[in-house]
């Protein structure tokens, strides 16, 4: 990905520094634009490699890492973008997925003071919980962590610590559920279940990808939701499900799944992968007096546009919108960067 696709070489410096927090697709797209407009761009990321979820969660058979890495290399070597890896920028405390590689913690308040503008593109590094008993058992690994650890192992940054799972249950039907189920098959699991509380028609990943997995050997089960994880000696042993039926549309416009009492059944599993979505992880929390006004009660950023109030902070990508496809992240990154440019040029 040639993030600096708008220029051949770096133009004369505007003498203004921009910090980008989060080297995912939104942040790197913003970095590419801003460097082409003559700004000095520093990119911070808590991970040991740049690329965000595209490098560290989306399977490499979909996006080979080299395709992202060559774009990052180009930004750093040809455009003087400075990349600070293993560096988490925060105001307030919060532990998210992928914090294990953090070597430096930088205070967001200092970044905001040091740079002319700050672009927040920290993504969605926390998984939604199922909210059922037994969820903390060993062998329950959310899709983001599962995919992330597999990518880390490919990058040579972690041991492949999984003993080969025999029976895998993936809960959900979005793109991370689909990727997790396919990766479980590739790991050599004997049985992989993909279980969704609505029907194939409502599956966020789409019927096409569900059918593709079924053809590859995944067992698809619809209209069922987990009610508890059955645990033995601290390890998952099985999952209890309850049958659902579809009711009238809920607030998302899709038919609401309604539990059918007395319809419980269990499926044995040694690996359970909840894939029911990820949530926004901004670089500040309610503890941060300076910026907490930009958070709602759930800790997500609230903003009318890309700029946060009258500050020099801008926000883009999944951290603002919730999980999307790469295209959306890229688009928001670029449009935000243009707003940053206008802000810094004073137009």
């Amino acid at each position: 990905m040639k993030f600096a696709f708008l220029c051949k070489s770096k133009p004369t410096s505007m003498g203004k520094r921009v910090a980008i927090i989060g080297a995912g697709i939104a942040g790197l797209s913003a970095a590419g634009y801003l460097t082409c407009k003559g700004f000095e761009v520093d990119v911070y990321d808590k991970q040991p490699v740049a690329g965000g979820l595209a490098a560290l969660a989306i399977p490499s058979y979909r996006i080979p890492y080299n395709n992202i890495d060559e774009g990052v290399e180009d930004l750093v070597k040809s455009f003087g973008v400075k990349l600070y890896l293993n560096t988490k920028v925060m105001c307030g405390e919060r532990h998210d997925e992928g914090d294990d590689f953090v070597k430096h913690v930088v205070d967001l308040r200092n970044i905001v003071k040091e740079y002319s503008a700050v672009v927040i593109t920290t993504g969605t590094w926390r998984s939604r919980k199922l909210g059922v008993p037994g969820e903390d058992a060993k062998g329950v690994v959310d899709a983001l962590t599962f995919l992330y650890k597999l990518r880390l192992a490919e990058h040579g940054l972690a041991e492949e610590f999984w003993t080969k799972p025999k029976r895998v249950v993936v809960v959900g039907a979005g793109l991370s559920a689909v990727d997790a189920a396919e990766e479980a098959l590739r790991l050599g699991a004997e049985e992989v279940y993909l279980i969704y509380r609505r029907t194939k028609k409502e599956a966020p990943a789409g019927e096409y990808y569900v059918d593709d997995l079924i053809a590859k050997g995944v067992k698809w089960l619809e209209l069922a939701a987990p009610t508890k994880i059955i645990v033995e000696n601290g390890f998952v042993k099985a999952v209890e499900f309850q049958r659902m039926r579809l009711g009238p549309p809920d607030k998302t416009g899709r038919p609401a799944p309604i539990p059918i009492p007395g319809s419980e059944f269990t499926i044995e599993a040694d690996l359970v992968i909840p894939a029911i979505g990820e949530v926004s992880t901004p670089p500040f929390t309610q503890e941060c007096a300076e910026f907490k006004q930009f958070l709602d009660e759930r800790g997500y950023i609230i903003s009318k546009g890309y700029r946060l109030g009258n500050t020099n902070m801008f926000v883009a990508g999944d951290v603002l919108t919730g999980p999307t496809k790469l295209g959306e992240a890229c688009k928001h990154g670029l449009y935000t960067a243009r707003d940053v440019e206008r802000f810094l040029r004073g137009v």
Binding site: L6, I25, G206, Y208, K325, G327, C330, Y335
Partner: protein, 168 residues
């Protein structure tokens, strides 16, 4: 364009095997054209989402049919609209087998992909090609693109052969 033979010198090809439907091509196109993308993604059913854009046909019906000669071909073979000549009749849309040209409600002229004429003029690649995360969008002289397509097909065939325990 090679004026003597009339052969286009640039060909863009979308490798739908590699494409994951992420929408980065459309995002960058939208951004550089002020909110209008000339490579668009559609869900053709069941969540199978892929992009489509102008094929810059070697014998382009839109160029043939245009009554004001607004639909033209540049030196690289890219088919583009000369906005100053276009009357917005959309005869090009009737002629196009792929439904590509669109009427701009702002300029009242036909609009379509020009393979990023401006970026190419600066020695850069079209934005969709430069940013595609899967290298699904290939551009080059036609023979190079044909060779790349066949190499990719061969790679897939050999991967399948090897996965069934074949030896070479």
């Amino acid at each position: 364009m090679d004026k003597s033979s009339g052969n286009p010198t640039l060909l863009r090809w979308i490798d739908y095997n590699k494409c994951i439907g992420c929408g980065v091509c459309s995002a960058v196109c939208d951004f550089i054209h002020e909110g209008v993308s000339f490579i668009k993604l559609y869900d053709i059913g069941g969540g199978l989402v892929k992009p489509i854009s102008c094929f810059h046909c070697a014998k382009a019906p839109c160029v043939e049919v245009c009554p004001t000669k607004a639909m033209r071909r540049d030196d690289s073979g890219a088919v583009y609209v000369d906005g100053s000549r276009c009357i917005g009749c959309m005869a090009c849309l009737y002629a196009c087998p792929y439904g590509i040209p669109e009427l701009s409600i702002i300029t009242k002229t036909s609009t379509k992909c020009d393979l990023c004429k401006q970026l190419r003029g600066d020695g850069l690649e079209p934005a969709c090609v430069a940013m595609c995360p899967t290298k699904a969008i290939v551009i080059g002289v036609p023979q190079a693109v044909f060779d790349e397509a066949k190499k990719r097909a061969l790679t897939r065939i050999m991967k399948a052969v090897m996965s069934f325990g074949g030896s070479i």
